[in-house]
């Protein structure tokens, strides 16, 4: 009987503990000021990229498929936070902002690799290096926000193949 009570109590505690982070963790997820400060932090992270990382050239710069492949990767990994058209979303800032579009490809690659862990952006080194460069190619192809009408939306449908 005692074992049963302990079991039930343990289960309740574990379930409460499991659901507490989502219930409390996103309490103030969307206020405008917090969003702005989060964007500033993300953009300032670009400036923290070491010189060696900035100097890296995109090896897929001339790959004609890099942007198309990067677009698919963006939809699958990034659009959830940065928005379907990369103009900023629920959690992530706009990637069409000048801070990103004017940054060296190497600096964007560095942020993708390292994430901004304390501000919610995960590390993306789990994507192989060529895929991260494909993402950089796509992000740089977007152009600044003022030119957004000319840029292709991130969720353009692509042909499916096997």
């Amino acid at each position: 009987m005692r074992t049963r009570r302990t079991g039930v109590l343990t289960s309740i505690l574990l379930i409460v503990a499991f659901f507490l982070p989502p219930a409390l963790g996103q309490e103030n997820a969307n206020p405008a000021s917090e969003k702005k400060s989060s964007a500033e932090t993300m953009y300032s992270e670009i400036g923290r990229a070491p010189e060696k990382a900035r100097a890296k050239r995109n090896p897929l710069e001339k790959d004609p498929d890099a942007v198309a492949a990067g677009r698919i990767l963006f939809e699958q990994r990034c659009a959830e936070c940065h928005g379907d058209s990369a103009e900023g979303g629920k959690k992530g800032p706009s990637l069409r902002a000048n801070e990103i579009q004017d940054a060296e490809p190497g600096a964007i690659f560095w942020v993708l690799t390292n994430g901004v862990v304390r501000k919610g952006m995960p590390v993306w080194s789990k994507l192989p290096e060529p895929q991260r460069w494909q993402l950089v190619s796509f992000i740089k192809s977007l152009g600044p926000a003022s030119a957004k009408t000319d840029a292709p939306p991130a969720n353009t449908s692509q042909p499916r193949s096997r």
Binding site: T3, R4, G7, V8, T10, S11, L14, I15, A17, F18, F19, P21, P22, A23, G25, Q26, E27, A29, L60, D65, A66, A68, A69, G70, I72, L73, Q76, R77, E80, K90, K91, T113, N114, G115, V116, V117, R118, K119, G120, M121, P122, V123, S125, K126, L127, P128, E129, P130, Q131, Q134, Q158, P159, R160, S161, R162
Partner: protein
């Protein structure tokens, strides 16, 4: 009995979770036992179901299974809740316990070797057969006890792991060191897991595809016990090696399969593991909205 009533709860949770609409494309590693240093994306929930079929010398083969609810609380903290069960053929099907696992990333940036701290609490019965880790002097003969007897033993255990993982030229190499303590005054037990894996292609295709090589990750893992604080080493431990294959489908599902082989006479000769998982976007926001009145 608490453990007996768990099965309907497991079924309900599986059905409820798999009917949630919004999902994300996962890039999951193919390991069953080893962990790498990648945590769940913040706010996302991954629902996973895994099975292990195991052969048993001198007894009845078994099929064990567990469900994991893995939630990215932050970019540096992933929390996970497990429900475990097993069927021993010709014996019975029982719920064997629950686990609560937490993984923490202490370093802000990516390094050549990335440490992750792992803390888990397990409340399980002695009939647990999921073989999620190798520890202490756990051997094949321990599984001979009939379920009706083994389930009488209730185990409360804390498990700590240091995960050291590195990604180099598309390869992931990971090494996990485990220390487990049964809270009923048992000695510390130790174990390890090693893993290496790589996607079949490093560049993504410019077309959407299901069977593209970049969607497959293949590798191998090796794991086993390292004795306890009084008898440290490989003596009287079980050891396994297992090729692993993961398939990340564009629909958001991940499938994994792994045949495992015992490396000594104390190990099950053959283990076949498989699993399916699906990642759900924005679970955190969903729960948050629920508590804030649907904003």
């Amino acid at each position: 009995m608490f453990i007996h009533r768990g099965l309907p709860l497991v079924s309900f949770l599986v059905l409820a979770a798999f009917s949630l609409p919004d999902f994300a494309r996962a890039q999951e590693n193919p390991y069953f036992v080893a962990y790498d240093h990648y945590l769940e994306e913040p706010g996302n929930l991954e629902i996973e179901y895994f099975s292990t079929f195991g052969t048993q010398r001198g007894g009845k083969d078994f099929h064990s299974y567990w469900m994991e609810l893995e939630y990215g609380a932050t970019a540096w903290w992933t929390t996970e809740f497990y429900l475990d069960g097993q069927t021993t053929f010709g014996d019975s099907t029982i719920f064997t316990g629950i686990r609560w696992e937490n993984r923490f990333r202490p370093l802000k940036r990516e390094h050549f070797i990335n440490p992750i701290l792992y803390v888990e609490y397990e409340h399980k019965s002695g009939a647990d057969k999921i073989l999620k880790e190798g520890e202490g002097h756990d051997v094949e003969a321990d599984f001979l006890t009939p379920n009706s007897v083994a389930r009488q033993e209730i185990i409360n255990e804390m498990e700590l792991k240091l995960i050291l993982s590195s990604t180099f030229k598309g390869w992931n190499f990971t090494q996990n060191t485990l220390a487990a303590k049964n809270l009923s005054n048992e000695p510390w037990e130790f174990g390890y897991a090693l893993g290496a894996s790589r996607p079949l292609a490093l560049k993504a295709s410019a077309r959407r595809c299901t069977l593209c090589p970049q969607n497959f990750i293949a590798g191998v893992e090796m794991y086993g016990g390292l004795g306890d604080r009084y008898h440290f080493g490989l003596h009287d431990t079980s050891q396994y090696v297992a090729p692993v294959l993961g398939w990340n489908l564009p629909s958001g599902w991940t499938l994994r399969i792994s045949p495992g082989f015992g490396l000594n006479d104390n190990s099950h000769q053959f283990l076949l593991r498989w699993g399916v998982s699906r990642e759900i976007n924005g679970f955190g926001s969903m729960v948050s909205r629920l508590f804030r009145g649907g904003q």
